[in-house]
């Protein structure tokens, strides 16, 4: 691209290096086409197919699945649930991760590396395992409920699982390491010297935080929020297990349509909806980031 922008570079060495560049990119491109582009095209095609139980009928095109999705209030509710779950998880995961990330970014302790590793260590276990962990804690006979009951603090069981509260809580914890990592990488403009400069100009700790640290860490926070939001609205395992079949989000519905109802075109159409949701969120994010950084 840059070679094309410079007429003088249109000489044979530049062309040769472009050839080499293409060759180097080729394996990755092929892999991307096979693993990403082709399935995506196939998904789009499938969403326009007419539904036949458990299979895709041949050549016909129909917008039947889309009209189902768009005119059935159930799917609107599913989309709404998904957005609410995504927002709640993103907001709380970011709020809880922010102090941790800020500490890790600013500390001069020699244990900083160890602490960072500890903060993201939960990523080493599968989210299924961690979801089961949350079921043990939040379940009807789980740690919280049995403690409350044996202390006679509550009469009955407080419902913490099999609803969206359980799914939200578990997702927040599961996605926090991602939020911390995203923030750490986005805190590049934070710098103790700027804080010192602000203090020298008369800003107390609170003012340093609100006027310097907060605005400079905003891009990192935004990136973390986006990442957690996207991971939350596309999550399947945690809402499925923590929701006990009573939480309907796009992830669980795609799974249901594809494996239970065996309506593949509908599952594909729902996936496309999810993709559109992602794309619009990412566009919004890029706008916001540009506004923050200029």
């Amino acid at each position: 691209m840059s070679a094309a922008a410079l007429p003088a570079a249109e000489t044979s060495p530049a062309n040769a290096s472009r050839g080499i560049l293409l060759m180097l990119l080729l394996p990755g491109l092929i892999a991307l086409v096979i693993t990403f582009l082709l399935p995506l095209i196939w998904l789009l095609r499938a969403s326009f197919a007419s539904s036949t139980m458990g299979a895709l009928s041949g050549g016909d095109w129909t917008v039947q699945s889309y009209s189902t999705v768009l005119f059935d209030p159930f799917y609107w509710r599913v989309a709404w649930n998904t957005l609410v779950l995504g927002f709640n998880v993103a907001i709380f995961a970011v709020i809880l991760s922010y102090p941790i990330a800020l500490f890790l970014a600013r500390t001069e302790s020699r244990f900083r590396g160890v602490l960072t590793a500890l903060a993201v260590a939960p990523l080493l276990t599968s989210s299924v395992v961690r979801t089961y962990g949350w079921m043990v804690i939040l379940g009807d006979r789980g740690v919280i409920n049995s403690t409350l009951q044996s202390l006679s603090l509550t009469g009955g069981v407080i419902r913490l699982t099999n609803n969206s509260l359980g799914a939200t809580v578990a997702l927040i914890e599961i996605l926090m390491p991602y939020a911390i990592l995203a923030m750490l990488s986005g805190f590049g403009r934070l710098n103790t010297q700027l804080e010192e400069a602000a203090a020298m100009l008369g800003a107390n700790r609170l003012r340093v935080f609100t006027r310097i640290i907060l605005p400079l860490s905003a891009p990192g926070v935004l990136t973390a929020a986006l990442l957690v939001f996207v991971l939350a609205i596309s999550s399947f395992v945690t809402p499925r297990l923590m929701g006990g079949g009573r939480v309907f989000v796009l992830g669980t519905e795609v799974f249901n349509e594809a494996t239970v109802t065996l309506n593949w075109p509908l599952a594909a159409a729902l996936s496309v909806m999810l993709l559109i949701l992602f794309s619009s969120i990412i566009l919004l994010y890029q706008r916001a980031l540009r506004a923050l950084e200029t």
Binding site: R189, N191, Q193, L194, E196, A197, A198, A199, M200, L201, G202, A203, N204, R207, R211, I212, P215, L216, T294
Partner: protein, 355 residues
């Protein structure tokens, strides 16, 4: 001294875990409106002193007094000192005007007055009209000016500058040197600036405090420091010179091995061993070898530097450096035998070697 505007009294800083103090019983003081340069090689503790004065780090012991009042217990943000950081530390998310206005906002100055003072500060540092720029849209020199404006607009008790010129290229450095000096003189602010560049210190400061390894070596005017260095470190750190070691034979006269005796100025007991230093430009061509304080030797190396000629003269087994003005008549050539002389007051006593 006690009634000086700023008094630094026996300041010590030992960083946690360090065996030796980084700043070791340093005392100096500044009258109002003075510009003092803290000069010394890298790692000698200059920044540490500045940060203690600013309140960014706490001294291990000692006191910092402003107008006779100890400021040790006053928090950084209440000290009312301006600081220009080496990397400027301008806030990247604010415009130049917002940067300068920040300190005024913290002081709850009204909007109209703030705008007026920001405008004046921009004029002072010759950034008129650039207030709406983003910091990243300024050149290095302009950022430097913005940083100075930001620290001056709050009318600080004391202005601190940590190597303010080290990030600029040579030409801009010379320009900013005069500029900073000028701004300081016009505002009349008391200022301490840190540098490891002797030219910068000599040309900008009213007085210099020369440090080495955490200790203060000498405080004095540029002239005193250059012409009357009190320690060997100061003599060798600032300017060039040839050093001699000699035995004091009678007051003001030392016998130097391989040479004749040298007359010098300074008090040293008879019989003690002294260190003496002669600046290259204090040596002059002499007619006869019979003169007191004269050296005869062969020219070993010559560098022509426009206005001066630098000679290395082999004399009694040692190398003597001399700078001669190029208009000094017939100039010696390489291999010539020359005789140089120096006045007694230009032979500086820089230290005594314990007997």
């Amino acid at each position: 001294m006690a009634d000086h505007h700023v008094v630094i009294d026996n300041l010590v800083k030992t960083y946690p875990g360090a065996q030796k103090p980084s700043v070791d019983h340093v005392s100096f003081s500044l009258p109002r409106g003075e510009m003092l340069a803290l000069l010394g090689p890298s790692g000698c503790g200059k920044t540490t002193i500045l940060r203690m004065i600013a309140g960014l780090i706490a001294p291990t012991s000692g006191a910092i007094r402003l107008e006779g009042k100890d400021v040790s217990s006053i928090a950084v943000y209440k000290r009312n000192m301006g600081m220009v950081f080496q990397a400027y530390a301008l806030f990247p998310h604010m415009t130049v005007a917002q940067n300068i206005s920040f300190g005024l906002e913290m002081r709850k100055v009204g909007r109209a007055e703030r705008e007026e003072r920001v405008r004046k500060a921009l004029d002072l540092v010759k950034l008129t009209g650039l207030g709406d720029r983003k910091v990243s849209q300024l050149s290095g020199g302009q950022q430097q000016r913005a940083a100075i404006a930001r620290s001056l607009v709050i009318e600080p008790e004391l202005l601190l500058l940590d190597e303010p010129l080290s990030n600029l290229d040579a030409k801009l450095r010379d320009e900013m040197r005069d500029e900073i000096r000028d701004i300081q003189a016009r505002t009349g602010v008391t200022a301490i600036f840190v540098t490891h560049d002797q030219d910068e210190a000599l040309s900008m400061a009213d007085r210099l405090a020369v440090m080495s390894a955490g200790r203060l070596e000498q405080v004095g005017t540029p002239r005193e420091i250059f012409d009357r260095p009190q320690t060997e470190f100061v003599a060798s750190f600032i300017g060039a010179g040839t050093f001699f070691e000699g035995q004091v034979a009678e007051p003001g006269l030392a016998v130097v091995e391989g040479l004749k005796s040298l007359r010098f100025v300074g008090e040293a007991p008879v019989g003690s061993t002294v260190k003496l230093m002669i600046r290259p430009h204090r040596l002059v061509l002499a007619d006869s070898a019979g003169q007191p304080n004269s050296f005869t030797g062969t020219v070993e190396h010559i560098v022509y530097r426009g206005q001066i000629l630098t000679l290395n003269i082999r004399c009694g087994g040692r190398l003597l450096q001399a700078d001669l003005p190029t208009h000094a008549g017939v100039l010696p050539e390489k291999g010539d035998e020359v005789t140089l002389a120096v006045a007694a007051q230009d032979v500086t006593l820089v230290g005594q070697v314990a007997p």
